[in-house]
Structures are given as C-alpha cells and as structure tokens.
C-alpha cells in the first residue's frame, strides 16, 4: 500500500483519526477522503420494497448537501418556505430514525439559487462536540449536540456583496479548533477561519472574484496538521488553518465544482483533467507529480484509496494509478444521468448516487470494475452519502435515509 492508511492516520488529528467508525463529520468524511475502509454497507437495497432500508425520515425542506454522523446523531440541513429563507438543522437518531431535535432560523443573506439546488446546499460539519451548519445564503450557525445555539453569524449581512444567485454550495471544514469557509463569487470573495468555540473571526483572506462551488479541504502532513487547500478557477492556495497565512500558491485554474483531495504528501486537483502535486519539504512548494487529461472529475471530487485514483465524469468511471496517473481502465455506468454527489468507498466498493436516486455499487478491481448492484431510492440525490459503521446515510431531496443490513 504505497499510500498507507497507517501513515495517514498517524498524521491526522484525533477528531478525524478516531477508530470510532460511526463518525462522519463533514463533506467526504474523514480527512475529506470519501473513504471508510472498515465499513460494509449493504450491496443491495431498495426503497420500494424497503430492503435494507433501516429507516427513512421526511425532512422539513430540500437540500443539495449530504448528512453527517455525530455521536449517534445524523445531522442534515434543509431549506424551505418563501424563497427558501427558512433554514433548518435536524438531528435524527442513527439507531431508530427518531427526530431528536430540530432547530431553525431565517436566512439573512441572499437565498436565491438554481431550482435544482437549495439554500441548504453545503454539507454541515462537526468537531464531535459542536455542529456547524452553513447555507448558500452564508448564514453560519454553531449548535451543541442538544441543538442549542452556541453562536451564529450572518456572513451574508457582514459581507453583503458575497453571494451568488445561482447558489453557493461550498461546505465548511473543521480543522482542529478552526472552522474554515470558502465564499467565492463575483462580488466579495473570501475564505475565512473562525474559532469553533466562539465564532470569532480569526482570519479572512480575499479570494478570486469568480463563482466557485468547491470546498476547502484539509491537508494532514506529518509535522503540519493544520493546512487547508483552497482551489478556484484561477488558483490553488494552501493556507495555515489557524492563521490563514499562505503557505503555497499555484497560479493554476482548477475545477470550480470538484474539490481537491490531499493524501499524505500528495495533492490531487481537478485541473487539466487531474493534476497531482507533491509537497516539497525542502522548498515548501508544490512540485508537479503528474497530469492526465484523461482523468477528469466532473462534478464529483477525486477519490484516492490505496494506490488507486478514481474520477467520475458523465457516468464514466476512470480508474488510474495514483502514483503516476496512468489509466488502468474506464467503466461506463449505464443510464446514469447526472451525477453531482461524490461517491464513497467502503472496502473496495464504490457507492455512486445519481441525481435520480439510483445507486451503483461498483467493485473496483486492479484491472476492471464490476457493477455489482444497481439500487433505487426513487428520489433525487445531490449530496454525498455519509458512512457510519456499516450503514450509508443518504440525504435525498426531501428525505434522510439509513441504508443498513436488515437485522
């Protein structure tokens, strides 16, 4: 295993490295890897028959984001009502599907978005003690695990030119004691770090004035546990999470939808297809490892597990060698339609949700992939699933689902 999980776990903070496999604390899960190697969710499930559907819960509005799993709770955000201004955070018992609490407030920033999306587009995040919900309207709220507000900031009011009426969707990132948000649009664009406990603004840096929907990602390197990667249509910037200090910058445009992925000393960016960089520990700069225009993530973000890198675009999975970008094979997902969510990998199975709620389970092999199941939820899925123990937690357009083996 050239990209050893052991090394990864040795450098990432405890909140992500926990052996507690029930936790899925942010967009794309532990270290934003989309990877839960110990988990074995059901291969087959079906909404109509209820097969391996533990529970499904109606939520008070729509979302384009995913759910997270925190301390036995499944947390999802929603928006509904007039102009989708009423925004919600709902906690559901992972075990029973019972709603534990629900909090709501009114969006103070711009709530407009494409009808396909929702004000509740970003996936929430957590440090295991607090929950951070962020919305397209740039409303940002921190709740404790009882659903009580700890702090709240209307970034849309504080920075009124920050907003994109097509909708924002960058998900917040918790890294150590800092909450990082990336707010990029044609108006006031910035990335900011806030203290998780107090909500105080620790830093704010200007970002390119272009629409961007990608999310900040953590980069855990040995000896440097607090780096954040910001990508946009014109740059790749690595900052210190606590200070916002720029550590490295590339004048290179990346995807404005797909987010980056950092594994050990490598950084994978959806740029010119896909480009991989290596952190040069001598120069503290990013050295290009390889670039492949045959390996382009579409709306999904790249996934690396073991020595394998996977990109998904237009219903075609491209599987390559993570070390040199050489293509191993491609697999077409039949009748896949549009795919916006980033798949998750459990063991060697890739779970790919389409916007119609179809889920392909694909066994990723060395030389070929096999579609081992095609499952239907029957409702639009835009957000990435969370993995908690051996279950998938899926936020569809109006519902929250737990997919787990029937007992």
């Amino acid at each position: 295993m050239r990209y050893g999980l052991g090394l990864l776990l040795s450098v990432i903070p405890l909140q992500y490295a926990s052996s507690e496999t029930s936790q899925w604390l942010q967009f794309r899960g532990p270290a934003a890897s989309s990877h839960q190697p110990q988990a074995s969710p059901p291969i087959q499930f079906d909404a109509a028959s209820g097969k391996n559907v533990s529970w499904r819960v109606d939520l008070p509005g729509r979302s384009a984001g995913g759910a997270i799993a925190v301390d036995g709770q499944v947390i999802a955000t929603s928006s509904s009502g007039m102009d989708q201004r009423r925004i919600f955070i709902t906690s559901v018992s992972a075990k029973t599907g019972e709603t534990l609490w629900e909090q709501n407030l009114v969006a103070r920033g711009r709530p407009f978005c494409h009808p396909y999306s929702a004000n509740a587009a970003p996936t929430p995040a957590s440090d295991g003690q607090l929950i951070f919900a962020f919305y397209s309207s740039n409303d940002l709220v921190a709740l404790n695990l009882k659903g009580e507000v700890v702090w709240y900031r209307s970034l849309g009011s504080e920075f009124p030119k920050s907003g994109n009426d097509t909708g924002m969707s960058s998900s917040p990132l918790v890294i150590e004691d800092t909450l990082v948000v990336q707010v990029e649009c044609q108006g006031e664009s910035f990335a900011a770090g806030l203290d998780t406990k107090s909500g105080d603004l620790l830093w704010k840096i200007e970002r390119p004035h272009q629409a961007n929907w990608s999310s900040p990602v953590p980069w855990f390197r040995e000896g440097s546990n607090n780096m954040v990667v910001l990508t946009s249509g014109v740059d790749v910037t690595v900052v210190n999470a606590r200070s916002g200090a720029k550590l490295a910058t590339l004048d290179k445009g990346a995807s404005t939808i797909s987010s980056a992925l950092a594994v050990d000393d490598q950084l994978y960016i959806a740029a010119d297809g896909m480009t991989a960089y290596q952190w040069n520990t001598t120069t503290n700069m990013l050295d290009k490892l390889w670039q492949s225009n045959k390996l382009e993530p579409g709306n999904s973000s790249p996934i690396v597990f073991g020595a394998t890198v996977v990109a998904l675009k237009g219903g075609v999975l491209t599987v390559a060698d993570a070390q040199d970008g050489s293509i191993r094979y491609k697999t077409r997902l039949p009748d896949s339609g549009s795919i916006w969510s980033t798949p998750v990998v459990c063991k060697d199975n890739l779970y790919v949700f389409t916007d119609t709620g179809r889920c392909f389970v694909v066994a990723i092999g060395e030389k070929s992939a096999e579609i081992v199941a095609t499952n239907e939820l029957g409702e639009m899925v835009l957000g990435s699933p969370a993995v908690s123990d051996d279950s998938l937690l899926v936020r569809s357009n109006t519902k929250l689902w737990k997919i787990a083996k029937s007992e």
């Binding site: 007039m82 102009d83 407030l105 009114v106 103070r108 702090w151 504080e158 009426d165 044609q186 107090s198």
Partner: protein
C-alpha cells in the same frame, strides 16, 4: 422544661432564619435570574452582524439558554423589532425553550400566534410548533391567514389555499378564489404561479400593476464597456442624469458613434426590458435607463431590481445599489434598495452593463425593476 422551651425557641428561631434565608436566596436568585434574563434578551435584540456583535451575543445566548420553558413567551415577544441577527438568536433560544416547555404553554402560544402585532417570524415558528405532525390543524390555523401581515404566514396560507382551489370544479368560483389569492400574494414565484392558473382559466391579470414594475423607459446607449472596464466610468450622460441636468433631446458620444435617447415600453408581464434585442446584441456595452415619477406625499419605498448584468441604481441622484456581477442569475427582487420618495418629481436612473462572455447563457442583457412597499405591495406613482 425551660431548657426544652428554650430549645424549642431556638429551633423555631433557627427554622425562621433558614426560611428567611431560603426566601431571600430564592427571591435574590429570581432577581438575579430576572436581571440576567432581561439583560441577555436586551443584548440579543440589538446584535449587529459583525465580529463585535458576535462577541456580545455569545455570552448572552449562553445565559439565556439557562432559562426555563416558562420563559418562552417573553423570548418570543422580544423578537419584535429586534435586529435580523438578534431575531435569529432569539428564535433559536425560543426553539430550545419550547422543547423544555412541551405543550404546557400551548394556549398562550395560540394567543401569540393570533396576535398580528407580534413578530411574524416568531408567529411562524409558533405555528410550526402547534401544528407539528397535524396537517388538519395546520390547515385550520392557516385558513384565515391569506392576508396576514407576516409574509411567511401569508405565503404558507396561500400555498394551502391554492391546493384547495385546485379542487374547485366550478370555473367561476375557482376564478374568483384565485383572483382573491392573486391580490393577496406578495412572493413573486407564488404570484406568477397564480397568474398562470388564471390565464389558463381565460382570466389574464395585470402583473405589471400587481408588482409595480416600471415598464415605460427612456434608454440611451450603447457606451463602451470593453473588458468590463467602465463599470465605474462616469460618462457625461451619467453625470448629467445624477445632477438632474438630463435633456432627453441631447446627443452623447457612444461606443459606436453619437447616440440619442429612445423611448421604450415593455409589455412583458414581468416588466423585463430586453436590452440585447434593443441594442442588437451589443457586447462590452453599457445602457442607461431613466424615468421620473410623481408622488403626492413623501413615502418610504423599495426599489427592487432583477438583472443578470452588472448594475447601478440612483434614486434622486443618490446611488442606492451597485452590483458588479455578470451572468450569475436573474430573479424578481434580486437586489433591494431602500429609498425615500419626496413629494413632486422623483428620478430613477439605472446603469446596465454587458460584458463580452461568449457562452450561450451569457448573451442576456436585460432588467426589471419595481417600486413597492417593504411588504412587496406595489407603489404606483404617476
């Protein structure tokens, strides 16, 4: 015996002292609680959207979370006239307190909901609590709220009434019901949906009048905006317009040579003026739109602009909104500027900038603007 009596006396005194101490402690605690409670509420009501506001809010909200469910109504009442950030803090505290109080305060909450003087967002939250998982009860509560001053409640009530109206088989009755809902509706998407239903019934409505769209314009352009370089360039026509020296017969140097004012009336029901059509799909260009309005008395108004292009808006020479955003989206009420109309003639000027993006979706160059009250009711000056 005496010792016993003394002992009883001592014990009685002791008990009395303890009772007094407990009483004092309780009343003091209540006083402290009341002070903390009042101070926390007062603090949260005024929280501004800023780092300093956040630092003030965090201890106040932590203190308020200690309140009991019985304190729910004062927290809800405090949302009235609180700042937008403050209202959200108080709403979230109220939500937590409701979980503590359960149904104990439901009759008081029902009174709170019915009282239209209370904060609309607070009342909407109360509706959610009182009707959770009870569709019939929700329908019953909302039935009389299609004219509610809370736009959120009104929107929900009209949504529900529309569902009922769909089931009316008599065309005349259905048309009357939908017309009534159209007149009540303020949220643009809802208004347009009702208008379409009425149109389908052969009863078209005047959306321009309902919304208060400005549909008659004086336009001049194109002026140069190559490279998106002239958003802040003050062309002579702009300085003349702002200084109230506009002469609609004047000629100005434009991007492609001399240019003059044209009059244009749009019959688009959403008040959309299509500049791309009027100016031959010019790219890298700017057009100014100008109109005057007569008001009999001073009035607080809102100018609500929708455009997919970079824009500036002046009211009586004062810049009221400025948005250097190209091709993000276009919505009715996308940009809202608060202004004050004066008795007599008022002047509205728009600067609408097109860039040179080549994508198919970047060819739009259009705008719509309406004049209305804070609740979206059209203001129809002469």
């Amino acid at each position: 015996m005496i010792r016993v009596q003394n002992s009883k006396c001592t014990r009685l005194l002791l008990v009395a002292h303890i009772a007094a101490a407990i009483s004092w402690t309780c009343s003091h605690a209540r006083l402290v609680h009341a002070n903390d409670f009042s101070q926390a509420i007062a603090r949260l009501r005024t929280i501004a959207p800023s780092d300093d506001g956040n630092r003030q809010a965090v201890p106040a909200v932590a203190s308020l979370q200690q309140a009991s469910g019985a304190d729910l109504i004062p927290v809800l009442a405090a949302m009235k006239d609180a700042t937008p950030v403050g209202r959200n803090y108080l709403a979230m505290v109220a939500n937590s307190l409701y979980r503590k109080s359960g149904a104990a305060l439901n009759s008081q909450l029902d009174e709170f909901l019915q009282n239209t003087n209370n904060d609309g967002e607070a009342r909407y939250m109360v509706l959610q609590w009182l009707t959770a998982n009870d569709v019939t009860k929700r329908s019953s509560k909302l039935a009389s709220m299609t004219e509610d001053p809370s736009l959120e409640l009104r929107f929900a009530a009209i949504e529900l009434a529309l569902t009922r109206a769909e089931n009316i088989s008599d065309k005349a009755v259905k048309t009357t019901e939908l017309t009534s809902l159209f007149n009540s509706a303020r949220q643009p998407t809802q208004v347009i949906a009702i208008a379409k239903k009425l149109s389908d019934l052969g009863q078209p409505v005047d959306m321009i009048k309902h919304f208060g769209f400005v549909n008659r314009w004086n336009l001049i352009g194109p002026f140069d905006n190559i490279g998106e370089a002239h958003f802040d360039t003050v062309y002579p026509v702009e300085s003349d317009l702002i200084a109230n020296k506009s002469d609609l017969s004047a000629e100005y140097a434009g991007k492609n040579g001399p240019t003059r004012w044209i009059q244009h009336t749009t019959d688009n029901q959403e008040g959309v003026v299509n500049l791309a059509e009027l100016y031959d799909k010019e790219k890298g260009a700017i057009v100014y739109a100008f109109q005057t309005f007569e008001f009999e008395t001073a009035k607080d108004i809102e100018l609500r602009l929708g455009t997919i292009n970079a824009n500036k808006v002046w009211w009586n020479g004062e810049l009221v909104t400025s948005n250097e955003v190209y091709h993000a989206s276009m919505e009715i009420d996308q940009y809202i500027a608060i202004a004050k109309a004066k008795p007599g003639t008022n002047r509205l000027v728009l600067k609408l900038c097109q860039n040179e993006q080549t994508q198919g979706w970047a060819q739009d160059w259009k705008f719509q603007i309406r004049i209305c009250e804070a609740d979206g009711t059209a203001v129809l000056p002469k």
